[in-house]
């Protein structure tokens, strides 16, 4: 049945009339056979979703940003809300209802549609997370590693570098053959455009589906965005691709759902959020994971984003999503102000399943780093007293500078995993002990450039680290290496 108002009216034979409009919620009289979560169509051609049914009226969540007129007619479609999907979506920017946001570039008609809101798959179809999800950010890959199929919350104050990290993770995963799905939830038009431009600049837009709802869209559209994104991610998974999905950001989504619930006179709970706010997010995030499919083991790795206010991790939505994800990465505003890029606090960040995907060498490096940085943080407390520092403390502080110079990724987007280990081996040992900060930065950039552009350099570096399973062996192997002659740097 074509989804046209007159068609639906004559096929189903039921009509409703709008009797009251409260912002995004429309109350209609009539439609005796209407079902919960059914899609309805207004005579203007706009759609709505049935959210509640009472004896005398039905409550509809409208997806139109133009207010619905009282007295206008509504028809049932006898369908659940579905989104058109297909490979044609790659490289496109679409609304949560599947339409292109650029009217000059419409999408071809889709051969398949899928319901937006479905129950997550059961445990029988899930597999243990065993493959690493490389983000290309050294600090994360070594200290807070992610696995394919993991749900890792990304949180921090605004303007702390979260979007940059997300885009780099997308770049890394797409280079490894995955598909990217980026849900922009309730942001302003400028931010949406910036994300699109960044993806184009990175050269990965053709492998990403961008689902956007701007701040001036209807609240119903903002509410739908992450569910639509997850449906598209599931389509690509079912068609044999790993997917990295970014939900930016769920705190805005929670606010939109709160608005809808309060307008619908649902009883407010903590911070005026409705009682089912946890379920709203958990049923979404549970749809990600590592699955056994007909194409083998495929994963939907999910990076939900939540904004904090003044670094407060104890907020309602923040703690809710921390509890339903497999870890979190915290972006600290103070570290950002100090100039650290990425501004990730490794002590407040957690990964629950990522370490099982690491090699023994990576695990040892991660442990060594955490332990070292904790000790150095304590040493800073002594250093602040102004007393004379012992040699071992001075060496440790110098090493810390090298380590953070290694982690600093202001200038480049992606450090492949093999190169991370190679560079870490040089940093950790005495090979670069006498290098200044700027010399280190230039050296690392050169090595990165050579690794990316020259096949023989890549092979040499990979050769140096292959077969090494212990940190000591790595440091020893790279101790006497001559970078200039080996790599032409």
């Amino acid at each position: 049945m074509r989804l046209d108002f007159n068609n639906c009216l004559s096929e189903i034979g039921e009509i409703g009339f709008v009797e009251r409009v409260v912002s995004s919620l429309v109350y209609i009289e009539g439609l005796p056979g209407v079902k919960p979560q059914e899609l309805v169509i207004f005579e203007t051609g706009e759609f709505g979703l049935v959210t509640a049914i009472s004896e005398s009226s039905s409550e509809i969540l409208s997806f139109s940003h133009i207010p619905v007129r009282v007295g206008s007619r509504v028809a049932r479609t006898n369908k659940l809300l579905e989104i058109p999907i297909g490979g044609d979506l790659l490289g496109k920017t679409i609304s949560p209802l599947g339409k292109s946001i650029d009217p000059s570039r419409p999408l071809p008609p889709a051969k398949e549609t899928r319901p937006i809101d479905i129950a997550p798959q059961g445990i029988g179809s899930r597999a243990k997370i065993s493959k690493a999800c490389e983000t290309g950010v050294s600090m994360v890959d070594l200290m807070i590693p992610l696995g394919k199929g993991q749900r890792e919350l990304v949180m921090g104050d605004q303007k702390t570098g979260k979007s940059k990290f997300l885009l780099r993770s997308l770049l890394s995963q797409i280079k490894n053959g995955a598909v990217g799905v980026y849900a922009v939830i309730g942001k302003n038009q400028l931010a949406i455009k910036q994300i699109e431009e960044e993806l184009t600049k990175m050269g990965i837009l053709s492998n990403v589906v961008l689902i956007v709802s701007s701040a001036d869209d209807a609240t119903g559209m903002i509410y739908l965005t992450p569910y639509a994104a997850m449906t598209i991610a599931e389509y690509f998974r079912d068609n044999g691709r790993d997917v990295l999905i970014v939900l930016d950001d769920l705190s805005m989504h929670a606010k939109a759902y709160r608005e809808i619930s309060l307008l619908g006179k649902r009883f407010p709970g903590r911070n005026s959020y409705p009682g089912d706010i946890f379920y709203t997010h958990s049923r979404l995030l549970e749809r990600a994971g590592n699955f056994r499919t007909s194409h083998g083991e495929l994963a939907i790795t999910c990076l939900p984003v939540v904004e904090t206010v003044q670094g407060d991790l104890t907020g309602y939505i923040q703690t809710n999503i921390m509890s339903m994800t497999d870890g979190h990465i915290f972006f600290d505003h103070d570290l950002f102000v100090e100039g650290r890029r990425p501004a990730i606090d490794p002590f407040l960040s957690v990964t629950r399943v990522g370490r099982q995907t690491q090699t023994p060498l990576q695990k040892e490096i991660g442990r060594a780093l955490i332990s070292f940085l904790r000790n150095v943080a304590r040493m800073h407390n002594f250093a602040s007293f102004g007393a004379e520092l012992g040699d071992h403390i001075k060496r440790a502080l110098e090493k810390e500078v090298r380590v953070f110079q290694f982690f600093d990724q202001t200038a480049y987007d992606r450090v492949p995993q093999a190169l991370q280990l190679f560079l870490f081996g040089l940093i950790w040992g005495d090979a670069w002990r006498d290098k200044s900060r700027s010399e280190l930065r230039i050296l690392i950039q050169k090595i990165l450039f050579m690794y990316d552009s020259k096949q023989e350099v890549r092979e040499r570096i990979d050769g140096h680290i292959s077969g090494i399973t212990r940190l000591d062996d790595l440091v020893k192997a790279l101790q006497d290496i001559n970078i200039s002659s080996e790599l032409g740097v």
Binding site: L9, S10, G13, E14, G16, G30, L31, A75
Partner: protein, 169 residues
């Protein structure tokens, strides 16, 4: 009490359309607000002016039989109001502005075929062209000329275009 109920039913049975019901409800509101402050003659004049013609006689009889007790009278009006609001509406979209005779004809048919307790909301919609559209308690049926023409052109599009092309050539 039984006489009052009979009076109710008589009045409710005479209401044929939504518009007549609105007028009668407005009349009840006005009379209820001025009860025992106006004379019987004034009440009769209000009935003649405000009440729909079809319900005047029944209303006169009901008002004459009203008891003296104000609380009872108030109760009678409330009961009448509830009975009127409980009437279900059958909306009919037609291409003409219906006369009183047409409305009476339609109402008699509805009363005979469907039953009591239903009033009409007749709307003039020229896009219908002919026939009628019905909406009753959320159910929708269209038996209009406009719909038939649209369906004809949709189903026989190929045949029609062939015919036109044949004639054109």
């Amino acid at each position: 009490m039984k006489e009052q109920d009979a009076g109710h039913n008589e009045i409710v049975d005479t209401i044929r359309t939504k518009e007549e019901r609105s007028r009668f409800l407005a009349f009840i509101e006005e009379l209820a607000g001025r009860l025992f402050r106006i004379s019987k003659e004034d009440a009769i004049r209000i009935i003649q002016v405000r009440v729909p013609e079809c319900a005047v006689a029944a209303t006169m009889r009901a008002v004459t039989d009203l008891p003296a007790d104000p609380e009872t009278v108030k109760g009678v009006f409330e009961k009448l109001e509830r009975a009127l609001l409980a009437l279900r509406i059958l909306r009919v979209d037609v291409a003409i502005s219906p006369t009183d005779a047409v409305i009476e004809h339609m109402f008699s048919w509805v009363r005979r075929e469907v039953g009591r307790g239903i009033i009409l909301d007749v709307i003039c919609d020229r896009t219908v062209l002919g026939g009628a559209r019905f909406v009753f308690e959320g159910r929708y049926r269209e038996y209009t000329l406009a719909k038939k023409i649209e369906k004809f052109f949709e189903n026989d599009r190929e045949y029609i275009s062939k015919k036109f092309l044949h004639h054109a050539s």
